[in-house]
Subunit: 104 residues, 2 copies
C-alpha cells in the first residue's frame, strides 16, 4: 500500500464533514478513535465486509476526519488533530449526542 490521499482541511466543506458523520458505521469508527491512539484498520469489527469498511475509511479520510498511515501490509488509523481547528467542537458535539437512544 502506498500513500493514501488526505485532502487539505481547507478544502473540506461542512457538508463533507457532516455527510461523513451521518453514517452510523463511520461514527462507530470515530468513537473508537477518540481514545486518541492509532488503531489498526483490521481491528474494527463492525459487521460489514472488509471492502465496505475500506470504503468507509476512505470517506472518513475525505471528510478530513481521520488519517490513515500504511505500515507494511497494515494500516494505522487515527483522528486528524487539525479537524477540530477547522470545525471546532463538531466532533465533540456529534459524538456526545451519539448514544444508544439516538443511534441507528
Amino acid at each position: 500500500m502506498r500513500s493514501l490521499d488526505h485532502p487539505q482541511l481547507s478544502s473540506v466543506s461542512l457538508s463533507d464533514a457532516l455527510a461523513a458523520l451521518a453514517d452510523p458505521t463511520r461514527r462507530a469508527v470515530v468513537r473508537v478513535l477518540t481514545d486518541g491512539r492509532e488503531h489498526l484498520a483490521g481491528d474494527f469489527d463492525l459487521g460489514v465486509a472488509q471492502s465496505t469498511l475500506s470504503h468507509h475509511m476512505k470517506r472518513l479520510r475525505q471528510g478530513g476526519i481521520t488519517h490513515s498511515r500504511p505500515d507494511g501490509t497494515r494500516c494505522w488509523v487515527s483522528l486528524r488533530p487539525e479537524f477540530d481547528a477547522r470545525f471546532p467542537g463538531l466532533l465533540r458535539t456529534v459524538l456526545g449526542l451519539d448514544t444508544e437512544e439516538t443511534r441507528s
Copy 2:
C-alpha cells in the same frame, strides 16, 4: 394542503438529523429560521425549483428540525423547539460552523 407529517422526535436518529443538515440548501433554510419566527415557504429564494425546495422542506421535517404549518394556500415554516432537547447543541454548533469558509 392538509396536515403534513412530522415525526416524533424520539424516532429521529442522529443519522437522520445529520443527513438533513449535510445539505447546504437545507442549512440555508435553517439559517433563516434561526430568528425564531415563522417564515413563508415561498420567501426562501435559494435558486432551486419550487418542487426542489418542497423536497428539502420535507427532509427537514423528517429530520425533526422544522415544523410546517399550512395556512390556506401558503405554508409557514419554523424551527421545532423540541429539536434542541433531543440533540442539545447540535443546531447551534452546526450553524456556528456554517460560514463562508466552510460552506459549499
